[in-house]
Subunit: 401 residues, 2 copies
């Protein structure tokens, strides 16, 4: 019996409200030995109050030592086994732009890039074109026809777009054409099984047309494709929990992830303040709210310690407005760590606080990596945060007699 | 997807060096309520410095409450699931003496023992004969012929030898003939499936010949056999990690374990000082070094608290020479606990420290069981130490988009 089946069996309905605030890449590292992390440096009176009122711990997104991408990291927070449910980047990107992916579709993430006369990549992001130019280029590519396959080319932003191929018997087991290097041409697509060979033939045909189409459009004169993926079979979060789930996310990928597990995507505006306002407006209509905050991750990826500290302080400032709604369970966590020291996602466990009347208090009085080590949740698999939320909301019955 | 497949998928090459120091049976217990463990009593300034500079925790070798033998305990430290990969003692012993085990072989650990006129065991170790005598006795037994099976009898040391039977369709599902008791005769071998019945017949034939052969050689006038095992199918450590792995172990069994997972066995000399010197010599040629230190276990097994403390202090004294090599990741742990109070392996979690620039600091300032409880690694499955080592060495890419 997997966790979903167990939760489905035990679930109980009530009128409680659960808010899951995901501060992307929340966990960090000190810059110097003996120093503090971004979260520990930040002045966070409201998150510290959560730590005092609730129970803290550290979440392990996938397994010790494993650094997750956004997809598996969020699926874990939504209660899925991230090793079992694998979501390709193409699907995430397609969901993020509201593209309605169907069972006959294979999606890939596309990048406009620059190639020289010999076809060798000189800029993997084509000098980051404007989003308007991206839209225009995609309109060009939308004219391409491929035998027996329907082609969709949809702009994302800057150099990024989504390619969707729709047809019969298309597999997704093919390599990225992005060589992840300069001075070499894009790779040829090769399928690893028969249905994926069909896809590879269609992709090769598409790419040949693209070369002609974009020849005069330097620096955006070529494309690379990666993360070919079909839509996974995934049981909706609402189905095994009985929760009416809503997502408040500004960035496309996180809306896509939420849609993937069947959440309703609300108009969340453009800022955290907008998101909290939207949360307030939607309060009566849903039971579970996923609120995604991007900037703790992007500042970490930029290696900007001070900016990450500031983004954490901005999040802290909004916490009182969320608590004013009186959620039965409020969780603040991250999907993974993004230490500015490493300028990337990392494997380090993620500080987590859960506030609920039913939480067993620990003696943690501030919200930080080191303090959370002494928290009542201990170090736990991220996948177990959802059952903890349901339990603290009184939404899980007894297992066995 | 199992852990090996995951690591194989995520692995990234770089030039980092990882050193895994396994102090066998490191964990302990206080002799008196309110007392300290061997490790806590020992003066360990250098291990304490590791704790201050790195991240600590406690490793659970197999599962809470499960006391491991050396085989599963080491396999877990090498990243294998010790419940899935079962290695019989016969295989370990054979590997430890450099015997080249093949797919048609079944190996068993043999002990010379003493029996009385009625064939009842009076000494399970035959008064611990000298290793020279063991060699002579094995030469005698090497003359034994068994129908349709090739027989190898190889000395180990003192009362211990290895028996290998080579033939077609030989199973390893048979009982030990060692009754683990005095005053009773050795047990008859019985196979639990058809191939193992073939083995049992060959073993019975061999044992009948042994009785004749050794009749006049009291006190070494009989043998017992245990741990019948075939060579397991095991994916080499180097294969799924990309690491060039070397072992520095003095004792045969640990060299055998390292060889089993495909490590190169280096000449490690006879002492810890020799081992560290060999480590230094081999530094450029390998990425991962397994350094095994036996005496923390043997003193624990002897129930000699003070001697175990001293052996820990000797290990501590060598730590600066290891750190002087500037490993990117240095781990000091044990394969299991061997509290001198219990005079045996135990299930208690094992103190562990990991030093790396990418480690998230905790506030642990000394290396001991109680201090490690507050460490940033928490209590973790021993199997996850390898992914943690790889992650801290920058040798694992991101999982999923």
């Amino acid at each position: 019996m997997n966790l979903h089946e167990l939760l489905a069996e035990l679930r109980e309905a009530n009128s409680t409200k659960i808010v899951l605030v995901v501060a992307d890449g929340l966990g960090g590292l000190p810059l110097e030995p003996g120093g503090k992390t971004e979260l520990e440096v930040a002045r966070t009176p409201h998150l510290d109050a959560c730590a005092r009122d609730g129970v803290c711990g550290l979440s392990i997104p996938v397994l010790p030592g494993i650094t997750p991408g956004s997809g598996p990291a969020h699926l874990a927070l939504f209660g899925y086994d991230p090793l079992e449910q694998r979501i390709g980047r193409g699907i995430l990107e397609a969901l993020g732009i509201n593209f309605s992916i169907g069972p006959r579709d294979v999606a890939a993430r596309g990048n406009f890039c620059t190639v020289d006369e010999a076809g060798r990549i000189t800029d993997r992001r084509a000098g980051r074109p404007s989003t308007e130019r991206c839209v225009q280029l995609c309109q060009l590519l939308q004219r391409i026809r491929v035998p027996s396959v329907e082609v969709f080319v949809e702009p994302v932003r800057e150099h990024r777009f989504v390619l969707v191929l729709r047809g019969n018997n298309l597999g997704d087991q093919l390599n990225d054409t992005d060589p992840q290097a300069l001075g070499v041409p894009p790779l040829e697509p090769v399928g690893r099984d028969e249905p994926s060979c069909h896809t590879a033939v269609a992709v090769a045909h598409f790419l040949a047309e693209v070369r002609q189409c974009l020849a005069e459009y330097a620096p955006t004169n070529a494309v690379t494709l990666r993360g070919f993926a079909r839509h996974p079979a995934i049981v909706p979060l609402g189905e095994f929990t009985g929760l009416r789930c809503a997502a408040l996310a500004v960035y496309p990928m996180y809306r896509g992830l939420a849609r993937l597990v069947g959440m309703t995507i609300l108009d969340a505006g453009q800022s955290l303040t907008d998101q909290v306002e939207a949360l307030k407006q939607a309060w009566q209509a849903y039971d579970f709210f996923f609120l995604h905050y991007k900037y703790t991750d992007s500042t970490g990826e930029d290696g900007n310690f001070a900016a990450k500290v500031e983004m954490i302080e901005r999040l802290d400032a909004e916490i009182p407005r969320i608590r004013a709604l009186n959620p039965d369970v409020l969780i603040v966590t991250g999907d993974h760590s993004t230490p500015s020291k490493l300028r990337s996602h990392s494997w380090h466990p993620v500080p987590t606080v859960l506030v609920a009347k039913t939480a067993r208090p620990d003696r943690v009085t501030e919200f930080g990596e080191e303090a959370c080590l002494r928290g009542g949740l201990g170090q736990f698999a991220a996948q177990h945060l959802l059952p903890l939320a349901l339990a603290h909301a009184g939404r899980l019955g007894k297992f066995g007699a």
